[in-house]
Symmetry: C2
Subunit: 191 residues, 2 copies
């Protein structure tokens, strides 16, 4: 495989470290970037693997986590509560450009893996998706609901977006999330 194309890709991928998310790091008053988030997600997959609802291919899950946000280099990060009907189109274009930097077979494999993540029809994408929601929820729990307050997000929206997505991939994770959310409600961090 042409190594220069691989180097071009890894140089381009580095830009994900400049994409800022809406959530804070757990221990810093600083917005998380999508590069470090992708690491934290991949590590969480490794750690929580046995709590997936269904049998998963762990390597496939971790690969998915590593590439799941690369489209944001072109398309940006959006809060999950946003209504934006152009998002799909922008991300599809971004995926074609970014994975298109790679040699064809590898580029196609990763493009397919990203489509798999987006569709949430496989055990792997459902488990990765569950943790992709659980980690920022935990950030809010640890930082007094920072992004909920900043974006005026209410409890019904949090439940509506997170309950199906997390419980589909991991019932055990949803039970913990639900417990944390109830604590936030009782402390009025979430309204």
């Amino acid at each position: 495989m042409n190594i220069d194309k691989l180097i071009d890709f890894i140089k381009e991928a580095d830009k994900l470290k400049s994409i800022h998310r809406k959530t804070l790091n757990y221990h810093e008053n600083r917005y998380e970037n999508s590069g470090e988030h992708s690491w934290h997600l991949a590590l969480a997959i490794l750690i929580f693997a046995e709590h997936a609802n269904n049998e998963i291919d762990l390597l496939k899950c971790i690969k998915m986590a590593l590439i799941h946000d690369l489209v944001e280099i072109d398309a940006g990060d959006q809060i999950i509560y946003a209504e934006d009907d152009k998002k799909f189109e922008r991300e599809e274009l971004a995926a074609k450009r970014i994975f298109g930097l790679l040699p064809t077979s590898l580029g196609n494999e990763l493009l397919e893996l990203w489509h798999d993540f987006e569709k949430k029809e496989t055990a792997e994408s459902q488990f990765v998706g569950a943790l992709d929601r659980f980690l920022p929820l935990l950030s809010n729990v640890l930082n007094d609901g920072h992004s909920w307050t900043e974006h005026n997000i209410k409890a019904d929206q949090v439940y509506k977006k997170n309950k199906p997505a997390i419980s589909m991939g991991s019932t055990a994770l949803w039970e913990k999330a639900d417990y944390f959310l109830k604590e936030c409600l009782s402390k009025k961090i979430l309204k």
Copy 2:
């Protein structure tokens, strides 16, 4: 497996995003942190896998990348050119504390994987080690030798530290690194 222990670990691991390395991101005038570096390394393993000198277990390599720097949460990041005979001791203590947060079997598995990475006796640790050197070298190539200048590192030190480590894991990567270093020498970015 006790899910609360897993959550404690993933909260602790988040601190790696606050550990700053000596190299700049490729596209930003900002020091890379060890969390985003771990992502970039894991992604690079996936991308460059076929250029490993020996047959590798890809999942093992990626797991290794995800956990290889966690000890820095306690022990800090050091430039590879530093002479520090207490480093091993500090990192060993850190590894025991951090992986010790996990349920025993998983904690032991990851501790062993980290020891494997440190020893560089397996095909996996040699390949991960090669990319762990190649990526910051590329940062210097793209940023006018920033960390070489800042720490007064000369060409003979760069060759001595990088040639064995990179070529042991991937001859193809070393050939590219050597080509880049020669360019830097001719441009007087490296002296």
